[in-house]
């Protein structure tokens, strides 16, 4: 069993809402007397799941009963919506603030990167800032000196290293700052969203650097809204919701749960003139049974019923299929099969059935968007209204292990010796 390097036990963190400055002294006195008399703190609400929208409490729990063990060498991605408590958790671990309840035990040197360029002083030169920032992040002067050239090379601002950073472009500033942070060598590294800096090339470099850090066996905790980066970097993941840790496991399971959560919470996005509109739609198997799961290579039906609110000469219908990273994977149109929908009179209700044959997308979760319209415009468009999963099975391909998730489509092949 691997070694546990971070152990979070029953941690909660409470924040006070509103203006802390007013009425604090009376609060404090109130608390003080209550404590002195051995009563419960009158100003504190315990055990209530009062999130930001709860109006009754003056206090809010940013984290509640978080328990987590992180092992040596694990690269853990933390995902969740804004306000789910991810950053609070990182702040507690990086010792910026203390938990209200519970304990965090840490083994080894820890460095946190909650922001790039913390403590950069605009008047100081690039070189002076490298030393200052490095020291703030916990390096000694000696360590920084030994890595100085590497840092400068990585940042690509060699020419300007003796210029005050206030004269830097914002890109140069950020690159220099990230370069310092990237050369930290702690046993545990905590990273919050910092990859969202610089141009595409630099981001690639930054992700590469992070990967090499994680490959060197160090423990990395990574918070990001960039799920692709999380999937690339991390092996394990946790999902935070409303200050609670709701899921723990392999990173792909976590990110897909998170994506699913986002879809569920978004209302269906629907647009169009509604000259003709969808009344209902469903996905069924070939026996007419509604399903949300098919095997690779299966056929399935999508049936959509629509009502015309006016007379229509002709109309097209399409199905767009997107994967869970919102990439456009498949497109189906009635013209593909020389099928025509035309001369619909007002009030008519039409049901159209589309059979999709031999689905060959890589196993995973997909969303179908339905569109009705013609060359003059959109009548009705419902985004990602049908969700379904493709399972690998053994009908289409026979490999006994999971298909490589990086590939988007699965091709059938025949093998032989010649």
């Amino acid at each position: 069993m691997s070694n546990v390097v971070i152990k979070i036990e029953n941690v909660s963190k409470q924040y006070r809402l509103g203006n802390v400055g007013t009425g604090t002294l009376s609060h404090d006195l109130n608390r003080f007397f209550a404590k002195a008399l051995g009563k419960d703190d009158p100003t504190m609400k315990v055990g209530v799941s009062n999130r930001l929208d709860a109006v009754d409490g003056r206090y809010v729990w940013a984290l509640q009963n978080v328990n987590l063990e992180i092992c040596d060498g694990e690269v853990l991605g933390i995902v969740g919506k804004n306000g789910a408590g991810k950053s609070t958790l990182l702040k507690l671990m990086s010792r910026v603030t203390s938990p209200t309840i519970g304990e965090i035990k840490i083994k080894g040197r820890i460095a946190s990167l909650l922001e790039v360029g913390t403590g950069f002083h605009p008047e100081l030169t690039g070189k002076e800032n490298i030393y200052l920032n490095g020291a703030i992040l916990g390096m000694t002067k000696k360590e920084i000196s030994s890595k100085f050239d590497e840092i400068v090379d990585f940042s690509g601002v060699k020419k300007y290293v003796d210029t005050p950073v206030k004269r830097y472009s914002s890109g140069m500033y950020v690159r220099l700052a990230f370069a310092v942070a990237a050369h930290l060598e702690p046993e545990i590294l905590i990273v919050d969203e910092v990859l969202a800096v610089g141009d595409a090339e630099f981001q690639k470099k930054a992700i590469g650097k992070m990967q090499s850090v994680s490959r060197s066996g160090r423990t990395v905790l990574f918070v990001s809204h960039n799920l692709t980066a999380v999937e690339q970097l991390c092996t394990q993941g946790i999902l935070m919701q409303n200050g609670m840790l709701t899921m723990e496991g392999k990173v792909h399971d976590i990110t897909s749960a998170y994506k699913q959560m986002s879809v569920d919470e978004n209302e269906l996005r629907r647009s169009g003139t509604r000259v003709i509109e969808f009344l209902e739609y469903k996905m069924t198997n070939m026996n007419g049974k509604t399903v949300d799961e098919v095997f690779l290579g299966d056929d399935f039906m999508v049936t959509a019923t629509s009502k015309a609110n006016d007379k229509i000469d002709f109309c097209d219908m399409t199905l767009d299929i997107r994967n869970d990273s919102n990439e456009f994977i498949g497109h189906i149109n009635n013209a593909d099969d020389c099928f025509e929908i035309k001369n619909i009179s007002k009030g008519n209700i039409t049901t159209v059935a589309v059979m999709v044959r031999n689905i060959c997308f890589s196993p995973g979760t997909y969303y179908i968007s339905l569109w009705l319209g013609n060359s003059y415009g959109t009548f009705d468009y419902i985004e990602n209204c049908i969700r379904f999963t493709i399972k690998q099975g053994d009908k289409f391909i026979q490999r006994p292990y999971p298909f490589d998730k990086r590939a988007k489509t699965v091709l059938q092949s025949t093998w032989s010796f010649k």
């Binding site: 029953n10 671990m93 309840i101 913390t118």
Partner: protein
Amino acid sequence: MNTLNTDLQSNILPDEWTMILRPKRNLLDINLHELWQYRDLIMLFVKRDFVSKFKQTILGPLWFIIQPLLTTIMFTIIFGNIAGISTSGIPKMLFYMSGIVGWTYFSTCLNDTSQTFIKNASIFGKVYFPRLALPISVVISNLVSFLIQFVFLCLFLAYFMINGSDVSPNLLVLWIPFLVLLMAGLGLGFGIIISSLTTKYRDLTHLVTFGVSLWMYATPIIYPLSEIPEKYQLLVIANPMTPVVETFKTALLGVGQINYFHLLYSFCFTIVLLAIGIIIFNKVEKTFMDTV
């Protein structure tokens, strides 16, 4: 049951974890060892303060000298010539300057450290390092400017002696390093207490700036200790800065009162103040991000 288990475990394997973060820690759990590990950072902060202060100025470090010099001239005109306050026969310029140089060190330490949490909230909110590193670096960088001013004061003194003024620096100058320590300790102690309290109650920031300048008048800077009327004597002596400044002036100028008992009082005061300051600071630094 659960907590019991945890306690047991941590008792059995106390060394297993490098760090345990708890909601509350012992008041006296002050990690000076960690502070020492961050000594490079302290020195880099000192350098930062020093460099950034004089970037894009023409006169640069000359400002260290201009400030006390102009204040001395002001005091000479107002308190010496217009108000006619006695300087115990010492040349007025010299008398005021020696007081100002000492006082400036104390007051800048106090003013600057009292802003620690508020001014550095953005750094403190993002990364951990021993928070005491910042006020200590402030005290050190102010020490540098004090030394420059002190050298200037000595040159000034030498000039007056060559011109035959009746001043006699004496062996008491050996006390000066100790006096400087007291000034630094008092400034730091008051400063960190105030900075800890200002995270919640901002009122103190308004008080500090003018409070310190009022305090100067309760310290024998512009008047000799011997000139104080009987009824105010206690007030001035209760001021821990009084013996420090008075000894400082006596050592350099040869005229004044030196009372080792009062010095001992200042010393004890400083130690107690620093201890209280560090304890409060240590308690506040853990959660101040939530209130600042």
